[in-house]
């Protein structure tokens, strides 16, 4: 049974559908990446999975339980963590407070998991008492990932975690994502830097105009010349 399974997602903002029937699945301990052109519905799909937009059709299951239309804070309780692309840290709060907010639903395990996050991202420990808004882009991304890990999710969803970061920092972030995955957490990743993302992923989905275009193992997708030309920058 898949960790996360979404079938036939239809929905969008206002009256306009951006998703016209998208299927996605993430197996336990898998890294899955969604790629596609701008406007293909990648971020919308993530928001739809996380109950942030209203779905007109389709359903989502997590570990076999139907979570279609559940409120975001309930999904966190069910073991999903989400790092949105923008506005993903509490800017006026310190790094430590950001992590505490991640553990809002699980105060009992807060201290232990925070140590794990600090091990994963040692720089956060140094900056623990600094407001997150003052950090560099890469460090902010670490805070955002750290915050999402604080609930000990079974599945971590990341929306373009490397957008706007230098190649060196991007490398670092991907490296950490692999480390998180090795700890047993399923990863669903939306990426513009498709080639690098596929390099760490097990499987991938290519979306176009709100529909599944290609699906396959990361290696297959990388080898497919059509995908290479249209989606991987040649």
């Amino acid at each position: 049974m898949a960790l996360l399974e979404a079938k036939g997602l239809v929905g969008g903002y206002g009256g306009m559908d951006i998703l016209n029937g998208v299927d996605l699945a993430v197996e336990a301990r898998e890294i899955v990446v969604i790629i596609g052109a701008n406007g293909a519905g990648k971020s919308t799909a993530m928001n739809a999975l996380f109950g942030l937009i209203h779905l007109r059709a389709g359903h989502v299951t997590l570990d076999g339980a139907d979570i279609t239309g559940a409120a975001p804070n309930a999904l966190v309780g069910h073991g999903m963590g989400y790092v949105p692309q923008e506005r993903n840290v509490f800017r006026t709060m310190t790094v430590r407070e950001n992590l505490e907010m991640g553990a809002y639903l699980k105060p009992a395990t807060q201290a232990r998991v925070m140590e794990q996050v600090f091990t994963l991202f040692p720089v956060l420990k140094e900056k623990a008492n600094q407001p997150a808004g003052e950090l560099s882009g890469g460090q902010r991304q670490m805070v955002a990932v750290g915050r999402a890990l604080m609930t000990e999710p079974k599945l971590l969803m990341l929306d373009e975690p490397t957008a706007g970061l230098s190649p060196l920092v991007m490398e670092q972030i991907f490296d950490r994502i692999v480390a998180v995955n090795k700890a047993g957490i399923g990863i669903l990743l939306v990426e513009q830097n498709a080639r690098q993302a596929l390099a760490i992923a097990h499987r991938g989905y290519v979306l176009a105009t709100g529909r599944n275009r290609f699906t396959g193992t990361a290696a297959d997708l990388l080898a497919n010349p059509e995908i290479g030309q249209s989606f991987l920058g040649g």
């Binding site: 996380f50 942030l52 409120a71 975001p72 804070n73 966190v76 309780g77 989400y82 949105p84 506005r87 993903n88 840290v89 509490f90 800017r91 006026t92 709060m93 407070e97 505490e100 907010m101 991640g102 809002y104 639903l105 105060p107 915050r147 999402a148 609930t151």
Partner: protein, 299 residues
């Protein structure tokens, strides 16, 4: 020395007391703005409600107004949560300005209910004048002002603890920072909203009781303070509770000190125009620094 003592005793210290009242009210306006993103026009009338709740206890049970204060605070807090549930909740996804109009309606309802139940006569918590208490040298402070200032300090300290240490207080700051991200983090935002009204309404009730103690009680006691409260919230940076405390104090002191005969024998600003000082400050802030001295949010 005598002139200084007169200035401090009759203008500055009463200004601090008035400033405390403004601070208590403005903190609520700022918190509500930070969480719910709208300017709560009925806040003055929640203050009035608190003041009259305390009056009922004083008049019917013979309680001291200071004993009635916590009950009034609780009443103001619960009433605010109830008002939110009945009136504001259906507007959570509406544009903020629609909620402002709804708060206009709440203002009308609260005030007319108060007028129906308690009448429109000017009332007092207690009659008779108490002697001011000497501090050092010629400096004196009215007993009511001492209590207002001390209780306000205690409330401010408690609020600081709540916002910086408690789980709910931090969740409140998180939601003020970014409501969507708070939801994604698992925070129950409706619960945060309830706490916001509890605190904002409770503080407003305290401010209303203090306003009644400081002068008199009448159905527009809170409405009359709405302008300085907004000025204080804007001065401190709207959405910033700490800024609202500083803004409230500054406006209160400025209003009282402006009535000192600085230039001639007459008050610089006639006492009837105290609110004009608040308006002046508000206008200056809107022109030069709408984010407030502490860089709040620009709407």
């Amino acid at each position: 020395m005598e002139a200084l003592a007169e200035f401090v005793n009759l203008y500055f210290l009463p200004g601090v007391a008035v400033g405390c009242i403004y601070a208590l009210g403005a903190v609520g306006i700022s918190l509500i703005f930070a969480i719910l993103r709208f300017a709560h026009f009925a806040h003055g009338d929640v203050m009035t409600l608190g003041a009259y709740l305390a009056y009922s206890l004083v008049a019917s049970l013979g309680w001291s107004v200071y004993l009635a204060l916590p009950v009034a605070v609780l009443g103001g807090a619960l009433a605010s949560v109830a008002i939110d549930r009945v009136v504001y909740q259906p507007f959570r996804r509406s544009p903020g300005i629609i909620v402002v109009i709804a708060s206009f309606g709440v203002m009308l309802v609260l005030r007319s209910l108060i007028q129906l139940f308690w009448g429109v006569d000017v009332l007092n918590y207690e009659t008779g004048i108490r002697k001011p208490i000497p501090l050092i040298g010629d400096f004196r402070l009215a007993q009511k002002h001492i209590i207002i200032i001390l209780v306000s300090l205690a409330i401010a300290a408690a609020l600081h603890w709540f916002l910086s240490r408690s789980r709910m207080g931090k969740a409140m700051r998180a939601m003020s920072d970014d409501a969507d991200l708070a939801r994604i983090s698992g925070i129950d935002t409706e619960k945060v909203v309830r706490w916001t009204w509890l605190i904002g309404g409770g503080l407003a009730a305290a401010a209303g009781v203090f306003a009644g103690i400081n002068s008199k009680l009448h159905p527009s006691v809170g409405w009359d303070l709405l302008l300085p409260l907004f000025a204080a919230a804007i001065l401190g940076g709207i959405g910033k509770p700490y800024g609202a405390i500083v803004g409230g104090l500054a406006i209160g002191i400025a209003q009282e000190v402006a009535t000192y005969p600085w230039i001639s024998d007459l008050p610089l600003v006639p006492p009837a125009y105290k609110n004009a000082v608040a308006f002046f400050v508000m206008v200056c802030m809107l022109i030069w620094r709408p984010t407030g001295i502490f860089k709040g949010r620009v709407l």
